[in-house]
């Protein structure tokens, strides 16, 4: 092995770097490389350093790499700062060249300014409040922009991207049928099972019809459908637009003269406003069916008894209230999903973060809107 090559350290036999001082002379030996220095303190703080002018003899260093050169440079700088200047440095020529390079580059790069200390809790609170208010305003501006785009569309419907609309309806609606159906059915089973236990105690078995029908049609079916769609479709909207943002496709659309709002947002918004109510009807049917199955198994309420009573206790209004919420939920999910997509800045990391934010915010807003519906409908006296 030729020791002069700075990279000839063999991974099999590493000689740890050593440094010994005697009198005014310090001697270095071994491999001053990443491997050789891995287990030692590179600043050699425990060494008894000579005071005053000293000599560093590194001619016995077997191999050196930038890590070793960095170590030497730090030792020399540390000693100099402590008032013990280096008088003489013996290194092999090629090792000296590497040390010179490291010293020169370290000097020319300068030192990074210390990162500004983060403020107190009050300052952080203030920053968060400002951050969230700015985003809330931004989101409102986005909703307004979508509304004006909708107005433009109403004036010139022939410019609408129908293919994008139908494509979105298929992916957001048709493809979601199995999962929405299965979960709605299971919700029906759970509700019927839990309340059936109580009803049987009072012998009020037949009231299972009211319980299942009203809970599902008015509240749970629209809500569960919206939550599934927020997780399934809202997140994909954010990821799609976010990735297009990263690859500058959104900017490309703008330069070609296509409004991203027209191509990326409106078809999605309209598609979801059509698909979510339809999915909700599907969820209504399957959740009530789940309740029926449970009612027959547990409470001896036959299918025909259930279906006889159903139209007597469920007014069309209950069904329409549930259905009326769906387009609102759809608009929330689509707008939040698209808005968060446009908020992506930078790279892959940002796409992931905004997707999370999108799902959390849309589910939160859907539930908040649902609560608002209950309060308003209660206020105007529509209970059934």
């Amino acid at each position: 092995m030729k020791a002069s090559s700075p990279i000839s350290s063999s991974t099999a036999a590493v000689e740890p770097a050593t440094l010994h001082c005697q009198g005014q002379v310090c001697q270095c030996q071994g491999d001053w490389t990443l491997d050789g220095l891995e287990t030692v303190d590179p600043r050699w703080r425990k060494v008894r350093w000579p005071t005053g002018a000293w000599r560093l003899d590194g001619s016995a260093i077997r191999t050196i790499d930038t890590t070793g050169a960095l170590s030497l440079a730090m030792i020399i700088a540390d000693r100099e700062q402590a008032g013990h200047p280096l008088q003489q440095l013996d290194l092999r020529e090629e090792h000296q060249a590497l040390l010179d390079l490291v010293q020169e580059r370290r000097a020319s790069a300068g030192t990074a300014p210390a990162s500004s200390a983060s403020g107190g809790p009050l300052e952080r609170l203030g920053q968060r409040i400002v951050f969230h208010s700015v985003h809330a305003l931004d989101f409102l501006a986005f909703v307004g922009e979508a509304a004006t785009a909708m107005g433009r569309l109403a004036l010139r419907p022939n410019r609408f991207r129908w293919r994008a609309l139908f494509g979105s309806i298929e992916t957001a609606g048709v493809n979601a049928l199995p999962i929405v159906g299965l979960l709605a059915f299971m919700m029906g089973v759970v509700i019927a099972y839990q309340s059936g236990q109580q009803l049987r105690v009072y012998g009020a078995n037949i009231f299972i019809v009211e319980l299942v029908a009203l809970t599902m049609l008015r509240e749970l079916a629209p809500l569960i459908t919206a939550i599934i769609v927020a997780g399934r479709t809202g997140s994909s909207y954010t990821a799609q637009i976010g990735t297009m943002q990263v690859t500058e496709e959104v900017d490309a659309l703008r330069t070609i003269g296509i409004r991203p709002m027209d191509l990326l947002v409106l078809p999605k918004l309209l598609a979801l406003t059509i698909a979510l109510p339809l999915l909700t009807v599907f969820a209504d049917v399957l959740s009530v069916f789940g309740g029926m199955v449970m009612a027959r198994a547990l409470l001896d309420v036959s299918f025909s008894d259930f279906l006889d009573r159903f139209p007597q206790v469920v007014t069309p209004l209950s069904f329409l209230i549930g259905m009326g919420k769906a387009p609102v939920f759809a608009a929330i999910i689509a707008l939040v999903g698209c808005y968060q997509g446009f908020q992506v800045r930078g790279g892959a990391d940002s796409v992931g973060r905004q997707t999370t934010v999108s799902v959390v915010q849309s589910i939160f807003l859907v539930i908040a809107a649902d609560a608002l519906f209950s309060v308003i409908l209660g206020g105007v006296g529509i209970w059934r």
Binding site: M1, K2, S5, P6, I7, S8, S10, T11, A12, A13, T33, L34, E38, T39, P42, D65, T66, T67, L70, M74, A97, L98, L101, V102, R105, R106, S108, A109, G110, T111, A112, P113, S115, R345, G346, G347, A348, D349, S350
Partner: protein, 264 residues
């Protein structure tokens, strides 16, 4: 197994390499030797398999047949732990930089060090700062995220990460693509300087004729699924093979040659 390198020794030996994607054969019976301490460029028309060859050498792609030796060690069918040890010995600069977007530049450079050494964190950061300086970047760049960097700075930051473990071998995939002429020239200079002072062997894929003239010791021309010319640039441009002549004798090829001659 000891991995020792001597100057002038062959560090990469490719023999009878065959790579294919489905039915499309990219390389067939390809041989190539790369010697320690040289800057070798892989050139060839689009689709001639330059990047594929690079990916096969750095173990990102399994060849269909043939052998590749890195530092004398066979890497076709290599085991996981041997591959891990070998990966410590080379650095790769990807075409788009491939810096991790959620980490700052300093943290990016620290990733290989954290993965391959047991050094304390403060020490890793010191070494990372040095690599950033070696790549010719100012110290404050270390705190920036990759998204905040210009194209030239991004390449330098990616180079700093490739140099993190003091590799013996450095692979560059189109290092100057997308850089302005001044930055591209400075990057070439940096690579040559680092090769000399760190004793690196450099293998790069490039289309940049100025880089070929100014920074390489030897150029391997890929065509017809193998290496059809392997010589220093001056000799390669004299080659008679029609593919090589077509590549270098366009107006751009001649302009770069004239400029390189003038500079010398």
């Amino acid at each position: 197994m000891a991995l020792k390198v001597m100057p002038g020794e062959v560090v990469i030996a490719v023999r009878g390499l065959r790579t294919q994607f489905g039915d499309a054969v990219i390389h067939d019976q390809l041989d190539l030797d790369i010697r320690h301490g040289e800057i070798v460029a892989l050139v060839g028309g689009s689709g001639s398999g330059k990047t594929t060859l690079l990916r096969a050498i750095i173990m990102l792609l399994q060849p269909a047949a043939g052998s590749i030796e890195l530092f004398g060690q066979q890497i076709v069918g290599i085991g996981d732990s041997a591959a891990f040890r070998l990966r410590r010995r080379f650095g790769m600069l990807f075409q788009q930089g491939a810096l991790f977007s959620s980490l700052t530049v300093r943290e990016n450079v620290a990733v290989p060090l954290r993965e391959h050494t047991r050094l304390p964190m403060a020490r890793i950061m010191e070494i990372a700062d040095l690599k950033i300086a070696l790549a010719g970047l100012a110290a404050e760049v270390g705190d920036k995220l990759p998204g905040e960097l210009s194209g030239g700075m991004l390449k330098r930051a990616a180079l700093a990460r490739a140099l993190a473990l003091d590799p013996a071998l450095l692979f560059l995939d189109e290092p100057t693509a997308g850089l302005d002429p001044v930055s591209a020239g400075a990057f070439d200079e940096l690579v040559v300087q680092l090769k000399q002072s760190l004793g690196l062997t450099v293998v790069m894929v490039t289309h940049d004729l100025d880089t070929l003239w100014n920074a390489t010791d030897r150029v391997a021309f890929l065509g017809e699924r193998r290496v059809i010319g392997y010589a220093p640039m001056r000799e390669l441009t004299q080659a008679q093979h029609p593919l090589i002549r077509a590549y270098f004798e366009g107006p751009r090829g001649r302009a770069a040659q004239e400029q390189a001659c003038k500079a010398k």
